[in-house]
Subunit: 228 residues, 2 copies
Amino acid sequence: VIEVDRVRKVYRLGEVEVEALKDVSLAIGTGEFVAVMGASGSGKSTLMNILGCLDRPTEGAYRLDGKDVKELDKDALARIRRKKIGFVFQSYNLIPRMDAQENVELPMVYDGIAAAARRAHALDALRAVGLQERSHHLPSQLSGGQQQRVAIARAIVNTPSLLLADEPTGNLDTASSDEIMGIFQGLNDERGITIVLVTHEPDIARFAKRVLRFRDGQLIQDEPVADR
Amino acid sequence: VIEVDRVRKVYRLGEVEVEALKDVSLAIGTGEFVAVMGASGSGKSTLMNILGCLDRPTEGAYRLDGKDVKELDKDALARIRRKKIGFVFQSYNLIPRMDAQENVELPMVYDGIAAAARRAHALDALRAVGLQERSHHLPSQLSGGQQQRVAIARAIVNTPSLLLADEPTGNLDTASSDEIMGIFQGLNDERGITIVLVTHEPDIARFAKRVLRFRDGQLIQDEPVADR
Ligand SMILES: Nc1ncnc2c1ncn2[C@@H]1O[C@H](COP(=O)(O)OP(=O)(O)OP(=O)(O)O)[C@@H](O)[C@H]1O
Ligand SMILES: Nc1ncnc2c1ncn2[C@@H]1O[C@H](COP(=O)(O)OP(=O)(O)OP(=O)(O)O)[C@@H](O)[C@H]1O
Ligand SMILES: [Mg+2]
Ligand SMILES: [Mg+2]
């Protein structure tokens, strides 16, 4: 479902160039559960933004479900993001003026789902992450870990076929982290959702079935997870 | 230096009350290095905001260096925050339109330090966290972990007497985390800076000398760290 073909990503800052991804090639099949690891600044979020059609490579190709995203116009990209992809950002990106429930309902609003159904699905998703009692809190009225969990609920509420999670447990204690990873494993096992997850923690990576390791914008290791 | 005396903190949301801290009492002496742990939503950031004079208790007292903060007006509180306290927020709080160096210089601007000296100190602090080559990047041009490290550099650049760090390594890989904890230990051992640090990770907590554990707004455990 994901084909990254010799992708290079360069950021230009005035006269200086930052090569965030140097020459990255990888393929991820439907239903896989992949952890992405690597040092701070090694290119993980840059890769995730390209996989999520939020950014384009400078060189090389990214094919999603066989289609080169270079050939898609802005509307087509937006439609793919809404319908196919669930995204948990490294800094959650909740809408400050909407409460938890409204934030979780947002992907369904775009899909034209009726209000009563949206409310039911949103509350299910919030219940799954343990936050049904905080549904009317604004992001500023939630703890760091609670904001992160609302972002996770929003990413899964539409059961996307591809879930991209950038450090989804970074602000969570062990109990909440295990709960979230249990949810992800369930979505992967039972619904065949493809999951790509960035993490720094080996204990989180072992919930995945394969680990991609980055350093300085290059993929340096690609290994299955023992007994998974 | 820190005395928390039967502190209660309640947030009011319409008709609902959220009791974030129930009845918390604790004391931290000068030069201590304390880790604060506990589940997501258990009150850690709320406590940190009170310790940092960013918020006031609903009931009870907070005394900083023997002075009850209730008796200080807004200007006095602001002055304490600038001169005495270095704060690393859970979500970094960098100024989006200032680059890394300008963000780190900000506490020194308030203290009226001359431009050349500010620049030198800021670059020293950025070097300490491994980011001297990113000094002209805006926050949006930095990875999550790099933004967090800029926030750490800013918190330590003025060598505050009290350093409050809320999940300072949440977005960092093991190598960067160990580096940061080494810096904190150095400040504590060599300069006697009092450090209170929130973390979910036992491997980070063991760099401290004492662990305070919270649950549902209450302090449930207070233990020294073995061989520290
Ligand atoms: N401004 C606010 N208004 C209403 N409730 C709030 C507000 N800030 C925090 N809360 C609530 O107070 C409780 C404690 O929040 P706090 O941010 O202190 O938790 P925490 O221990 O830092 O959690 P985490 O580990 O997730 O960061 C949470 O249940 C949260 O929903
Ligand atoms: N918009 C941008 N402009 C310029 N440089 C950027 C931009 N975004 C990222 N970078 C740089 O590209 C490199 C890779 O960044 P990226 O965010 O992909 O790292 P990361 O692996 O996610 O790190 P972390 O673990 O700290 O989140 C970093 O060195 C960063 O400074
Ligand atoms: Mg990142
Ligand atoms: Mg917190």
